[in-house]
């Protein structure tokens, strides 16, 4: 589903980051770990098309995304890539349900009420849908942001430190939920983390240095 070749990023301040080649098939999980400053977030942004690589290529669902123009990249990202951030952020003015629907609308235009309800029930947030994001707890927000990423029905799920702010119990729950959903939707799941708790869960790992 996704693979990279000779990926490198030229930092504006001069440094060049080289990344090892990686690949992840549909329904699989790849854990990318490394110490702080190793370029974990940069790699995630490169894979999501938020940043342009200095050299090398990234192929997501058969498309070399480094060649896409900004507008096409935005549209492609909406359709194929779901991103879960360390800090869950939402459109503060919209309710959780509206936030989730927005993701679906921006991604592929479809907007099914039942789908939203089903997903919310799976993630245990169905009672929170009418609430404003600011009223949710950290764990609830994290689950909601997973729901949002899944609403896009992505082929590639990127998660940036999804468990860093969660306690052990929630951490396990969220990690399992992610893996489960990726499996169900046949999406490739890439988790960027330095959370050692996750290393025990997922075997497929790449360590950045």
């Amino acid at each position: 589903m996704i693979y990279t070749k000779n990926l490198a990023y030229a930092h504006p301040n001069g440094g060049v980051l080289q990344f090892p080649d990686m690949a992840c098939a549909a329904g699989e999980v790849l854990l990318i770990t490394g110490r702080s400053g190793a370029g974990k977030t940069t790699l995630l942004h490169l894979l999501a098309g938020l940043l342009r690589p200095g050299s090398g290529e990234i192929n997501v669902a058969g498309t070399f995304i480094q060649t896409l123009r900004p507008a096409a990249m935005d549209a492609f990202r909406g359709r194929h890539i779901g991103i879960i951030y360390q800090q869950s952020h939402f459109i503060a003015a919209l309710s959780i349900a509206e936030n989730l629907q927005l993701a679906a609308t921006l991604g592929h235009g479809a907007q099914k009420r039942e789908e939203l309800q089903e997903l919310a029930e799976k993630l245990g947030i169905s009672t929170l849908l009418h609430k404003k994001p600011a009223r949710l707890s950290q764990g609830e927000q994290q689950r909601a942001s997973i729901a949002r990423a899944l609403m896009q029905r992505p082929q590639l799920l990127l998660a940036d430190e999804p468990t860093a702010s969660l306690d052990d119990e929630n951490c396990m729950a969220v990690a399992q939920l992610l893996a489960e959903q990726a499996q169900q939707q046949q999406a490739a799941l890439l988790i960027v983390t330095h959370d050692s708790r996750l290393k025990e869960l997922f075997a497929n790992q790449i360590i950045l240095s």
Binding site: T41, T42, H45, A48, L50, L51, P70, A71, D74, A75, F76, R77, G78, R79, I83, Y85, Q87, H89, F90, I91, A92, A93, L94, E98, L102, A103, T105, L106, G107, R148, Q152
Partner: protein, 473 residues
């Protein structure tokens, strides 16, 4: 979708959005009210002078003469002798001439001594009753009837002067003979009576006042004309004892003095034959004009534009009367008022600028605080142009709702002014809901200012570096 988010964003910060809306609505209201007032004032002023090419009156301010005799607003400049005026009333270039005599009022509504020609000018017939035919009969305007509670057959006494307070001519009771239909002109607020009523009242009145010593004689303060100082409010000289009812031989009175300037010229239209003594009704009364009979002004219409060039100059140069051209004076008045509305207009635009500034601040602050949301939208597949549209849409929603609110507010204010203030100035505004081109231009300019204020934050949203924003969150 974008509009929905923009709307929700505004609702998310109700106080700030409310402030912007209020500023916008107020500035729009001020500007649109000015536009409406200007338009209405222009329409009103011009409607009123229709059919009056020149006004003949006592020397003084020409504007005052026009205001007093045509608009029934200011105090008159003084009186002129009917015999002097008649020379011009009978001029071959004059189509019609309407004498008016001011001086009294009833509950603040002016009583105007005139002839039927005054009504003919407006092509008006009483909606109820008949026109005045005898002295002390009156036809009242629609507003007078409503506000003063006068009905057909009622009688009332006039008050000397044009204010609410003054000497009441108790001994002379006017009788309401007719009520005019509403016209939207100052006519609605007038009481019309034959010239003779005014003369009759003031002939005796002045006698009384002479005995009492007329100390408050000039209290209405229009003593421009020192020549007529003593009689300026009075249509008739004190020694004109002739009551309208008591007939005297017209030719005996006048022919030796005026030659062919016969007094019936005052009723030029009604008695063109000059045989005044043969005509019945009020015209007959013109027979009793004493040589010193006075009127306040004559409204004239010319037969051709040539007279417009000749007559006013001739009168102003060769007589002790004044000729004023309404069209010129109204232009002058509008340019005088112009500076006042200019100040209000500047104030309105300042408010609009303030509103635009507050929108600018709100959006700059908003896009900064929500930069993560904007980045999020893009990471979910929302293009840059949509982010631009989102910010612009917020300004547009505020702008349009503010302008609509301001429009309603301006019409409300117009209605309120109509109720409270304008009736006193005989102004009657109509077509309040009409949207003119000037309204559209003003609204467009305000909306453009809002969008301009949004352009900087919108471009900032467009150029947002999403990777950096998301990484630093």
């Amino acid at each position: 979708m974008i509009c929905r988010i923009a709307f929700k964003n505004l609702l998310h910060k109700p106080l700030y959005a409310g402030l912007c809306w209020l500023l916008l609505a107020c500035s729009t209201a001020v500007l649109l009210l000015l536009v409406a007032l200007n338009r209405q004032a222009k329409e009103q002023l011009e409607k009123q002078i229709a059919g009056v090419d020149m006004v003949l009156g006592a020397k003084g301010s020409p504007l005052q003469l026009i205001l007093s005799s045509v608009y029934n607003l200011d105090a008159p400049t003084g009186n002129i002798y009917l015999r002097d005026a008649q020379r011009f009333m009978q001029h071959p270039l004059v189509e019609y001439a309407i004498p008016v005599s001011l001086g009294d009022s009833y509950r603040g509504y002016r009583i105007i001594g005139t002839t039927h020609a005054y009504l003919d000018k407006y092509k008006l017939k009483p909606a109820a009753g008949t026109v005045f035919n005898k002295s002390m009969e009156v036809v009242i305007g629609a507003t007078v009837a409503k506000r003063a509670g006068l009905a057909l057959g009622d009688s009332f006494a006039g008050t000397h002067g044009l204010g609410e307070k003054g000497h009441v001519h108790d001994e002379h009771q006017y009788v309401v003979k007719g009520i005019l239909p509403a016209t939207g002109l100052s006519l609605d607020q007038l009481i019309l009576t034959p010239l003779e009523s005014v003369w009759a009242i003031h002939a005796t009145n002045v006698q009384v006042r002479e005995e009492e010593d007329g100390h408050d004689h000039d209290e209405h303060g229009h003593a421009e004309n020192t020549e007529n100082e003593r009689d300026e409010h009075h249509a008739a000289q004190p020694h004109d004892h002739a009551r309208s009812e008591t007939g005297t031989d017209p030719h005996g009175e006048h022919s030796h003095e005026h030659g062919d300037h016969r007094p019936e010229g005052a009723h030029h239209q009604h008695a063109p034959s000059g045989k005044a003594s043969d005509t019945p009704g009020p015209r007959n009364n013109s027979a009793q004009f004493s040589p010193n009979t006075q009127i306040t002004a004559v409204l004239m219409k010319f037969k051709n534009p040539l007279a417009q060039l000749q007559l006013p100059r001739m009168i102003n140069e060769n007589t002790n009367m004044q000729a004023a051209v309404p069209a010129i004076e109204i232009n002058r008045l509008q340019s005088l008022l112009g500076s006042g509305t200019e100040v209000l207009r500047i104030l309105g635009w300042l408010l609009a600028a303030l509103a635009a500034c507050s929108i600018f601040v709100m959006l700059v602050q908003g896009t900064h605080e929500r930069r993560y949301e904007l980045a999020l939208l893009r990471s979910m597949g929302c293009g840059r142009s949509k982010l631009l549209a989102l910010v612009v849409a917020e300004a547009a929603i505020l702008g349009i709702s503010g302008i609509l609110g301001g429009f309603l507010l301006s019409r409300l204010a117009g209605w309120f002014l109509q109720q409270q203030v304008f009736t006193r100035y005989h102004l009657n505004f109509s077509g309040a809901w009409k949207v003119t081109q000037a309204d559209m231009l003003t609204a467009g300019a305000i909306l453009a200012a809002c969008l301009l204020a949004a352009s900087f934050p919108a471009i900032r949203a467009f150029r947002l570096n999403i990777s950096k924003t998301l990484a630093n969150a």
